[in-house]
Symmetry: C2
């Protein structure tokens, strides 16, 4: 389905599930909406932490149509999360009645893009084969602070065979708007992950620890996580896995 049609199916609430695997070749994006009062510090945070927060578009205050998608961001994602004072308030399927003229919207690259490139290059991704959401972990790797925004990096993990790792590094480092090369390879404890089978977000995957090595990439959940630390009166984000599908073709 073309992105425009797909987004219309969300707008009409025909479909409200995950966007994983939809609209092949089109860039999907994490979305975070904050009141303008927070916008400068958050944009600076993203600029200082490009691996976790690769900015692909910013909608100035009150703007509801991105440059990279002929969409209305208030209705064209399948599911949204509304956070108040750093706590999840509720999940909704549109945010029309929540919209404010001082809202600034940030669109941030996601790993769907580089996963496709890995598979096309013959690298098997176990979470896809096991039909699970990729496992994500809080780490002890500090992000670079910007104003009130500070916290540690969240990473996603893919368990690879040793001979695939070099290739995976080379492939993903090209995707600057999709988290780039891995931030750690091999030892979960070194980056503060105590139990690889107990991810903080997403789902656990089964893999043979003797045959595969865990490889960690910066994850787009980082800015959401750091945003919540600041406890803004309101922050709106896509529900995990329920991304904005853009009209922009993925970089090759």
């Amino acid at each position: 389905m073309h992105p425009k049609q797909q987004r219309e199916s969300f707008r009409s609430k025909q479909y409200t599930g995950t966007t994983s695997g939809m609209c092949d070749n089109y860039l999907q994006a994490n979305m975070i909406i904050l009141p303008k009062e927070y916008a400068f510090e958050f944009l600076l945070f993203c600029q200082r932490n490009p691996k976790s927060c690769p900015i692909i578009d910013v909608l100035e205050e009150g703007v509801t149509t991105p440059q990279i998608a002929d969409a209305d961001i208030r209705t064209d994602l399948p599911k949204y999360r509304i956070y108040r004072n750093g706590q999840l308030d509720k999940e909704v399927t549109d945010i029309k009645d929540k919209w404010r003229a001082d809202f600034v919207t940030f669109l941030i690259g996601c790993s769907f893009t580089f996963e496709k490139a890995l598979i096309e290059n013959g690298i098997r991704l176990l979470h896809q084969e096991q039909e699970r959401v990729v496992p994500m972990y809080k780490t002890n790797i500090p992000c670079e602070k910007a104003g009130r925004f500070e916290g540690n990096m969240v990473v996603s993990m893919r368990a690879l065979e040793p001979e695939e790792i070099d290739k995976a590094v080379k492939i993903t480092e090209r995707f600057e708007t999709s988290h780039g090369s891995p931030v750690h390879i091999g030892n979960p404890e070194e980056i503060g992950i105590k139990d690889i089978d107990n991810p903080d977000y997403g789902e656990s995957i089964s893999f043979d620890k003797k045959k595969r090595t865990p490889v960690f990439w910066a994850c787009g959940v980082t800015p959401q996580n750091v945003g919540l630390n600041v406890k803004p009166p309101i922050m709106i984000a896509h529900a995990p896995g329920h991304m904005l599908i853009t009209d922009q073709l993925e970089e090759k």
Copy 2:
């Protein structure tokens, strides 16, 4: 002289002239200070126009020491310009008594860095040989707008021999924090420059139009120019050519 000592000579007002040619190998930066109310839109403008406005550091509100220089930006530049409502108010040698807790400071790459690389690669720069400030021109090339910040690009011009141009492109495209590759080669009129001998900023240089081709690079005067269009109640910048000398070595 080491950057720290050099900056102390500005702080003590022993020297208040241009920083051109000072502290070889250390990065110099354009500086723009705006009230926080403008900071988000200006940062977004820079991010959308990286060739004109390559951000090398941002100092959050009230902060006076950059990450890339052990300096006090209120005293450690040789000369400052204070603009009010889009008009030059005065030139001063420090801004201690003008400082406000809501000031946000932006440091932006400058072309001193790539000029050095050009010379090291055997390319003669006429404005240096003629001891003039590089000629700069307003163009008809629109910048990408961000909020209230909009306007056309300002470019600097270096007249090169035809066989030097390819090399100059290759050298400068590596300097992403120093304006990168040229934005136009050859025809000044095509980018809205009516008289190459009458620059809008800097000084005119003499060159044989039959033997040399004008090559244009995005220029760090662009953000100052665009900033003034917005007519902020106050905006402070370095005086042209009187840059912040940082402690950071230039990229190679």
